[in-house]
């Protein structure tokens, strides 16, 4: 039986430069978030903001309440401990506890333990930028690809799809619909076909058509499946062999409703593939995606986008400040 040790490290590759064209969007998102919350009284009452606004001093009892509120937002034990430790040390200035916790959380995301990935070379002049979307089943990869295409196209870039999920029933057709919505070309093989062949053909086609960006939708996989992770490493290799430097961006798509397992996902996909950025989906519900704080802090990976709905426009650039603020939404004003 054959064993392989470790995964290929492709870390340090360059993240795509996508400008935040509509920063007003995140405000719209915050508005949406607030409305969403208003619908559910229960979660409103449990938000950090509400709890913290009622606390004026840091003492053992209030620390317990803060801890509770942090946990309720999926901010896991390790991060919670870090926040409480910082509070006890008196970090976050002489402000009210609410302001201090907010500042500490923000600083956890803005000062990642590890340095952010080094920016490598983009695609050579005239070559397509290849972006992989990876993640566990149902995280929102395909939908994110569809929304991202629209984003990039609105910046005047010519986008193409590679339907490299040949495993799930009708996955190819799902991408096809998004290609139609975006008026983009798509490379698709039959169900059950080799995803490597799809990537190979798609890069060739993207070059021939002079596409600027190739979005590669991959099959969902749990990070514990060694053979499926190996398949993904192979897919990256296929891309790199054909177009040196590719994939130029590997986006790990995370579901905001997931709890602490998201940390394991970031760790495993990260070390296997050299993920260059994160996308967090389904932030339009009442899940707050608090696990992201720990994930960003631990991995040092940038969050590129957040998904706030199923529509083509429901993808917005991440803003750590707005995200942290959203965790506090519900604070009476």
């Amino acid at each position: 039986m054959v064993l392989r040790f470790g995964g290929k490290k492709t870390g340090g590759e360059h993240p795509s430069e996508i400008r935040d064209v509509e920063s007003g969007r995140s405000r719209r998102w915050l508005g949406g978030f607030r409305r969403g919350l208003a619908k559910t009284r229960a979660s409103l009452a449990s938000t950090l903001g509400v709890v913290l606004s009622g606390i004026s001093r840091i003492d053992p009892e209030s620390i317990g309440d803060i801890e509770e509120a942090l946990y309720m937002a999926d901010i896991g034990p390790v991060t919670v401990e870090a926040v409480l430790e910082a509070l006890r040390r008196g970090e976050g200035g002489g402000e009210s506890p609410a302001v201090r916790v907010r500042a500490i959380l923000l600083s956890l995301m803005e000062h990642p333990a590890q340095s952010p990935p080094v920016k490598g070379q983009g695609p050579p002049e005239g070559e397509p930028e290849v972006i992989f979307l990876v993640g566990v089943n149902g995280a929102g990869k395909t939908t994110t690809a569809g929304k991202l295409a629209s984003r990039l196209a609105s910046e005047g870039r010519k986008v193409m799809f590679a339907a490299a999920d040949t495993f799930r029933a009708a996955a190819g057709e799902q991408v096809e619909v998004w290609a139609e919505r975006n008026g983009c070309h798509i490379v698709r093989h039959q169900e059950g076909a080799d995803p490597g062949a799809v990537v190979f053909d798609a890069i060739a086609s993207a070059r021939a058509r002079g596409a600027d960006v190739l979005l590669v939708d991959t099959a969902g996989r749990l990070h514990t499946k060694k053979n499926l992770m190996a398949e993904l490493i192979k897919l990256c290799r296929v891309a790199g062999r054909q177009l040196p430097g590719a994939p130029h961006e590997i986006l790990l798509v995370l579901d905001a409703t997931s709890g602490q397992n998201a940390l394991a996902q970031v760790r495993e996909f990260g070390s296997a593939l050299g993920v260059t950025g994160l996308v967090v989906t389904k932030l339009d519900g009442s899940a707050k995606g608090g696990v992201l704080i720990g994930a960003v802090h631990e991995s040092g990976l940038p969050v590129r986008w957040i998904g706030v709905g199923e529509g083509i426009d429901d993808l917005i650039p991440f803003d750590a400040k707005a995200f942290t603020d959203a965790l506090f939404e519900g604070e009476p004003t």
Partner: protein, 444 residues
């Protein structure tokens, strides 16, 4: 980070023995560790808090004189309480006293409803029941097509909703057809929705009124975090759940959502999804779930899986052969085929306690097994019995016949020789032993 609760408690109780009583301080420290273990496993904060309050008494009551490791006793108490909280064993699906039984699957986007519908269909088909799948997810692109494909794979029928845009109308017509054509089950796949989306929750109510289902199953991802409570509450209030299906349990999620969901909905967890294939659906076992949540490895599942895959007859025959010192290339091939039946090697090994961490760097290639089997198949019976005769020209022929390279053939032969040595050292060939052997081979 994910060390078991027992390891953590051991530290707290280390110097307790000499004193012989569990003092207030130790109890509180132990309760804190238990709480943290639950939170790390994504059990909802409030649920964990209630739970801790409930087991406090059990822990104080632990008898120091029992000459049993107190950490073991605490873990046992916690486990027992968790099992109790999660309710009995996986319950079967309801069956209508007469006519069609309608099952409706509901849940968040991406939780695994469509795949679960296919799995349920296959499960029922295997019992010879007639199943109609109703594709009512008109929102996600190609969701209907996906369900139709799964229906084909499961040997079930799918209601043709071509041209229909209203999910309520689809449900109504599908259920009518199921009644008219005397199906045993009608499984309704609904679009994923956020519980805060009032319009879509209203739509779900209407679908329920149209379907009048016997079962409304909440399909929830085992990776769900604190949100599980809001989810269970909201879906329960809107459509009245009868059970939960927990999906993606084949990963390493600790699955605290199971506890949260059970606590807020009060309905049983009926089935769990353990893989992407249609037959990867299992009953829920609260005891295993409890060990998993407490980070103690899913030993029972592993043993059961091994038992299910190793056909007792074949296993006994193989064990006998090995005992007699007969380990041929044919034995190796049969054993490999047996292993494959158990699912992917890495899945199996990740269930072994303590193997999780080791597995991080080790990758067992399932393709390798396929290749090895192909190579052995390309040998003549004589060659299989006496591999020593396989010289260069034969190696070439075998490589060509199996579509591999000579180096692969060399490798198989070399591995075989090594294994043969290993097997000689084994006197009894029980299942456990076989697993251990396999692990040793993998680890070399």
């Amino acid at each position: 980070m994910f060390e078991g609760l027992r390891d953590r408690l051991t530290g707290i109780f280390r110097d307790i023995r000499s004193r012989g009583v569990l003092g207030e301080r130790e109890v509180d420290a132990a309760l804190r560790e238990i709480r943290l273990a639950l939170l790390e496993a994504d059990v909802n904060f409030k649920v964990a808090k209630d739970f801790i309050a409930r087991i406090r008494g059990d822990i104080i009551g632990i008898d120091q004189a029992a000459h049993l490791d107190p950490s073991q006793q605490v873990v046992k108490a916690v486990q027992a309480a968790l099992v109790e909280l999660m309710g009995g064993r996986g319950a079967e699906l309801e069956k209508a006293s007469s006519g069609v039984t309608t099952v409706m699957l509901v849940g968040l986007q991406g939780s695994g409803k469509t795949t679960s519908a296919g799995k349920l269909a296959l499960r029922l088909r295997k019992r010879g029941l007639r199943v109609l799948l109703a594709p009512a997810d008109v929102a996600r692109p190609a969701a209907i097509l996906q369900l139709k494909r799964l229906a084909e794979l499961a040997g079930a029928d799918a209601f043709d909703s071509e041209g229909m845009k209203d999910p309520v109308a689809i449900v109504r017509s599908a259920v009518e057809r199921a009644k008219r054509e005397h199906y045993d089950y009608c499984i309704v796949d609904t679009a994923g929705r956020m519980q805060v989306d009032e319009a879509l929750m209203d739509e779900l109510r209407l679908m329920k009124e149209a379907a009048l289902p016997h079962e409304v199953l909440l399909v929830a991802d085992a990776m769900t975090g604190q949100e599980a409570v809001n989810l269970g509450e909201a879906f329960g209030e809107a459509v009245g759940l009868t059970g939960v299906m927990l999906t993606k349990m084949d990963g390493d999620a600790r699955g605290g959502a199971a506890v949260s969901l059970r606590a807020v909905t009060g309905v049983p967890i009926k089935l769990v999804g353990v893989g992407e294939k249609l037959d990867a659906l299992e009953e829920f076992h609260p005891e295993r779930m409890a060990s998993r949540i407490l980070g103690m490895g899913d030993v029972l599942s592993l043993i059961e899986k091994a038992e299910a895959a190793f056909e007792p007859e074949a296993a006994r025959a193989m064990a006998e052969k090995i005992q007699r010192g007969v380990f041929t290339l044919e034995t190796l091939r049969d054993q490999m085929l047996q292993m494959r039946k158990m699912g992917s090697m890495s899945d199996i090994l990740s269930m072994v306690p303590g193997m999780g961490a080791k597995m991080k760097d080790v990758e067992v290639d399932d393709k390798e097994i396929v290749r090895t089997v192909a190579i052995i198949d390309s040998m003549t019976p004589g060659e299989r019995r006496r591999p020593a005769v396989i010289k260069a020209s034969r190696r070439k022929r075998i490589a060509a016949g199996s579509g591999t390279e000579v180096m692969h053939v060399n490798k198989v032969l070399k591995q075989f020789t090594q294994m043969q040595k290993l097997m000689r050292g084994i006197s009894k060939g029980g299942k456990r032993k076989q697993m251990q052997m396999m692990q040793q081979m993998i680890n070399r």
